[in-house]
Each structure stands twice: as C-alpha cells, then as structure tokens.
C-alpha cells in the first residue's frame, strides 16, 4: 500500500489539476454542446431537439449583426495593433534614450482592466464634454465627434480603445523577437551595403514570421472574446449597433433566459477560437519537439 502510494505520488499530485480542468473545462464545454441541441428556455431540458437552436441563431438579426461587428472589429484591431506594434518596436530598437520609460508607457494599458479603460474612453469620447468640446473650445466651432452615440460609427470607438489597450503588447512581442536576432546578421548585411530600411524590410521582418503568427493568434483570440470593453463603452448600443458574440451570449442567457440559444452561440464562439488555437498549439508543439 505504502509502496504503491510512493510510486504513484507524482500522478496523485497531478490529479487535482487534471481533474479540475477535465471537469470544469471539458465537461462543461460538452454540457454546453449538449444543451445547444435541446430546446432549453429558462431551465435546461435534456431531450434532444436537433439543430433548431443553430437555425434560430443564424436567422437572428442580432446575431448576424454581432458576427458582422466581430469581423469588422477583428480586421481593424489586427491591422492597427500589428502596424503600430511593429513601428514602435523597430523605432525603440534604434538605441533610443529613455527606452525603458517609453516602453513602460506603451504597455501600461495592459495592466488595467477594460472596465477601467472603457470608463475613461467613454468620458473622453462623450460628445457633450469630451474631445468634441475640447476642439470647439479651441476654436474649431464646427468640429463634431459623436462616434460614441452614432450607430454607424460606434463600433470604431471600440476599435480605438481596443487598439490603445493592446498595441503595446504586440510591440513587446516584436521587440523581444528583434532583440533575439544575432547582431552578426545585421552587421553582415550592413557591410554588404544594405540600408537600415532594407535590413528591416528584407531581413529582419521576414525572420519575425513566428512573432507575426503569435500576435495574430493572440489578437484574434482577444477580439473573439471581447466583452468587458463593449459593456463599459457602449453596452452594445446605440440600439444593437455594437453587439458582439460574447455580449449576445450573456444577454441571451441571463437576460432573455434562452439557455439553449445562448449555448448555441457559445459553441459558435468556441469553434471559432478552436479553429485558430488548435493549429497554433500544434505548430508550437512541433517546434518544441524539433528542438
């Protein structure tokens, strides 16, 4: 008995982690999957109902708007975060004075919650006393900036705040990547007469392929899950013009008590994330095995 215990001690110690994740992650996802195939309203029902909830979901105007918003947001969020992140990383890589201070400034939004920063942006972007008033007071009397309360433009305020929060993170990833390149490569290129621009464009950036990949995966993952920022900034409004899938899911589940339908929307989100993450984990694991 004691021998057995001693021999299996590592596995016993490992058991809580595996058990908790098995139950609370995999078990729960399977439960949600099952419920998405039932006609559950306020309380879960366990008779199978087929794909009814998914049909309802994709016929729902609100869901279609959510998906549309997600696509627009993800595209802009990705482009701006990566472009700004790369520019900042390359510029910071030029033996800049006060690099540490600048880096700290670019990254501090990552330490704050989306609720805190959303509250700040909401105040800045509000048309009565915020940025609009600032420009009017400065003498630009016809200046209007009402994106926050404008159905067409509200989604872009979420992009502004989202990029502000996450661009520094991309900068950190690229800076770490650039610093890990050996000096010899750059020196050799310079001796061959390559200018700084060529060195980055032709040599260093192509070497950053894994960093691009990682940033892409992480940013897409953040954007599919975005919830807090929207709650803090627009609550999905004006109207439903800035809803996104994560907000749709919680509203359907906890305000409208459409448990089956919300489970279906959760599974759509799950599949979207899995489609990005599984290839990523697979390639990371292969890279590690190759080492």
């Amino acid at each position: 008995m004691f021998k057995w215990l001693e021999k299996n001690l590592p596995k016993i110690v490992m058991a809580p982690a595996v058990g908790l994740i098995g139950w609370f992650v995999y078990g729960f996802v399977l439960w949600t999957l099952y419920i998405s195939f039932t006609n559950s309203k306020i309380l879960p029902k366990y008779e199978l109902w087929g794909f009814g909830q998914y049909e309802k979901l994709w016929a729902s105007r609100k869901w279609l708007i959510s998906v549309d918003n997600l696509l627009v947001f993800t595209a802009l969020f990705l482009i701006f975060c990566i472009v700004i992140g790369i520019i900042l990383a390359i510029f910071l890589d030029q033996k800049i004075r006060a690099e540490g201070v600048l880096r700290t400034i670019y990254l501090y939004p990552m330490a704050l919650s989306f609720i805190v920063t959303g509250t700040a942006w909401k105040w800045i972007l509000n048309p009565t006393l915020g940025i609009q008033k600032m420009f009017v007071d400065w003498g630009f009397e016809n200046f209007t900036f009402d994106w926050l309360v404008n159905r067409e433009m509200a989604i872009y305020t979420i992009v502004i705040a989202g990029v502000w929060q996450s661009a520094g993170f991309v900068m950190a990833l690229f800076l770490a990547g650039l610093r890990s390149v050996e000096d010899e490569i750059v020196k050799a290129a310079k001796i061959d007469g390559a200018g700084l621009f060529t060195v980055y464009w032709k040599i260093l950036l192509p070497m950053m392929r894994p960093v691009f990949f990682t940033s892409f995966v992480i940013l897409v993952h953040i954007s599919i899950k975005s919830y807090d920022l929207i709650v803090a900034l627009t609550q999905g409004g004006p109207g439903i013009s800035t809803t996104m899938p994560a907000l749709y899911m919680t509203q359907t589940a906890f305000h409208k008590s459409q448990v089956g339908l919300s489970a279906a929307s959760a599974m759509m989100m799950f599949m979207a994330v899995a489609a990005v993450i599984i290839p990523y984990l697979y390639s990371e694991l292969r890279r590690e095995n190759a080492r």
């Binding site: 001693e6 590592p10 596995k11 110690v13 490992m14 982690a17 994740i21 098995g22 992650v25 078990g27 729960f28 996802v29 879960p44 520019i87 900042l88 030029q94 800049i96 700290t104 400034i105 670019y106 990254l107 501090y108 330490a111 919650s113 989306f114 609720i115 805190v116 509250t119 700040a120 942006w121 909401k122 105040w123 800045i124 006393l129 008033k133 600032m134 007071d137 400065w138 502000w164 520094g168 993170f169 950190a172 770490a176 993952h221 899950k225 919830y227 807090d228 709650v231 994560a246 919680t250 589940a253 906890f254 448990v259 929307s265 959760a266 989100m269 799950f270 994330v273 984990l281 990371e284």
Partner: protein, 301 residues
C-alpha cells in the same frame, strides 16, 4: 590637387548623410513621443478630471489643469456621501476583490507549481498530452462554460459569493500557472533531480529543497499574472455575483452606469483610478516580471 577635390566631395557626402541622420533621429523621437502621448492621454485625463469639480469640468476642456488638488470626488468614490440607500461607493467591493484575489492566486499558483514539477521532473507516458490537455484551457472562450458554471455554483450553494469566485478563478487559472511553471522547470537540468533521487530524496523533499529555492522569479511572474487577471476580471464577476458580493470591477461598472442623478464624471474617474491602481502599482514596481508573464503567456515554449 585631384586628391583634394575627391576628399572634399567625399566630405560633402558625409556631411549630407550626417544631416539626414540627424533628421531621421528627430523623426524617430517625434513619432515615439507622439505615440507616447496617445498612450498617456487617457490616464492624464482620468487624473485631472478626478481632481476637478463638476463646475470646472463644464467650463474647461479635457486637458485643462485643475484649480487645485481637490480629492473630494476620491472620497465620494471610496466612501460615499453618507446618505444610506442608493449611496454606492467602492470600499466594500475593494475588500471583496482582495478577499477573492488572495486565496485564488495562492491556490492556483500552488496547483500549477505542482503540476509543472510533475510534468517536467517526474515524467510519465503521455505527459505531453496531459500538458496539452491543460494548456487548451488557457484559450477557451469562457462563454462556453458560463451556463454550467452558474448551475454548479448554485448546486454547491456558493453562487453570488466571494467563495464561488475564488473557486472559479482558481480553476481557470490552473492552465496558465501550469504553463508558467512547466516552461520554467523544463529549462532546469534534470540531473539535479536524478542525483537527489539516488541519494534517496523523496518527491516533496526534492521539490522543497532543490526546486523551490530557485523558483523565485517564476513564482513572482505567476503571482503577478494571476493577480492582474483576477483583479481585472469582469465576465465572471458580473455573471456569478451581484449586489454585495460583487468584486470591484463590477461595482465600478454599476456605479458608472447608474443614472440616478446627474452624471458626475469626476467621481467616475476617481472610481476608475481606484479600481485600476493596485494593478498599476504592481506594473510600475515589477514591470519586468509582468512583461515576462505577458510574453510567455503568449509565446509558449
């Protein structure tokens, strides 16, 4: 003579490239500072707004300097106005968050350390798959577990309580803490452990005598990461708690959204700063570890 001409034109060339270099340098700093002001702008606005009176806010602009150090709205945000019903302020929720964060960080860090230790130093068949199994938990959209979690907390009788949130944050922190410790221990030579095993040291003795003393950096990284994540969480807090058990982010959001009276932006900003200050302090003091967590949380391996 000819040599002279040559060298002077060369000098001209050099002079020219020196000027472009200076120009480029200025451009570089200009862009960097421009971005820095974009990043610092909201923080600046938050701080100055929180120090103004509503009168000053209506008269001035976002950027205008407050007339003095006026901490009234901070006091209101933290401790309320002192009239009973409907007076919401952050103090009790701040303590809720502390009561939630401390145990959740400790539990998840401990479980992750153990898991990381076993996965690297007591390897077994299929351990890679077990790691992958845990790792996937870092990435799932939590919407896929909200419904069953709400029911489970109800069944356990801990919905709408700090204890319930401790459980939730401990569980969903394990994938991250395991990742951190596993990646740290994988780089420590296994020979150390093997030698200790031959000397007859057991499972726990090896952990506490050999690994734990050198684990300080990764423990700091993990604690900072978990602290920031849990303190800043809104989804779990707002789904599984309301009213008195709510953590600070939920309380902040409720305060800002409540439309009972005239909007008091100075109190809103003071509240936001109070809710953000613990993680901001940690970031400023231990930025190096924060960034390490951030990048290794993303770039595995």
């Amino acid at each position: 003579m000819q040599d002279n001409i040559k060298s002077s034109s060369y000098q001209q060339l050099e002079q020219k490239s020196k000027y472009t270099n200076i120009f480029l340098r200025w451009f570089l700093y200009f862009v960097l500072i421009l971005f820095a002001s974009y990043f610092i702008f909201p923080l600046y606005v938050m701080i100055v707004t929180s120090l103004k009176t509503m009168e000053e806010i209506r008269q001035g602009t976002l950027l205008s300097w407050p007339s003095g150090l006026n901490f009234d709205s901070w006091a209101v945000a933290w401790g309320g106005r002192g009239y009973g019903a409907g007076d919401t302020f952050l103090r009790p929720y701040f303590w809720n968050s502390i009561k939630m964060v401390v145990p959740a960080v400790l539990f998840s860090t401990f479980i992750g350390a153990m898991a990381g230790y076993v996965l690297t130093k007591w390897r077994f068949k299929g351990d890679k798959w077990v790691f992958l199994f845990l790792l996937f938990g870092c990435f799932i959209p939590y919407q896929a577990i909200l419904l069953p979690m709400a029911r489970t907390l109800g069944v356990l009788g801990i919905s709408n309580s700090v204890i319930g949130l401790v459980l939730v944050h401990t569980v969903y922190g394990i994938p991250f803490t395991t990742l951190f410790f596993r990646n740290f221990y994988v780089s420590i030579p296994t020979e150390l452990v093997k030698a200790a095993r031959i000397d007859g040291a057991g499972f726990f003795k090896i952990f506490f005598k050999i690994l734990l003393p050198i684990s300080a950096p990764i423990i700091v990284v993990t604690i900072i990461w978990q602290f920031t994540q849990i303190w800043n969480d809104f989804l779990f807090g707002s789904t599984f708690s309301f009213g008195e058990a709510a953590p600070i982010q939920v309380a902040l959001n409720n305060m800002v959204l409540s439309s009972t009276s005239v909007k008091e932006y100075n109190v809103d900003m003071a509240s936001a700063i109070i809710a953000g200050i613990p993680t901001l302090i940690v970031y400023v003091l231990a930025g190096k570890y924060f960034i390490r967590g951030l990048t290794s949380g993303a770039v595995k391996g």
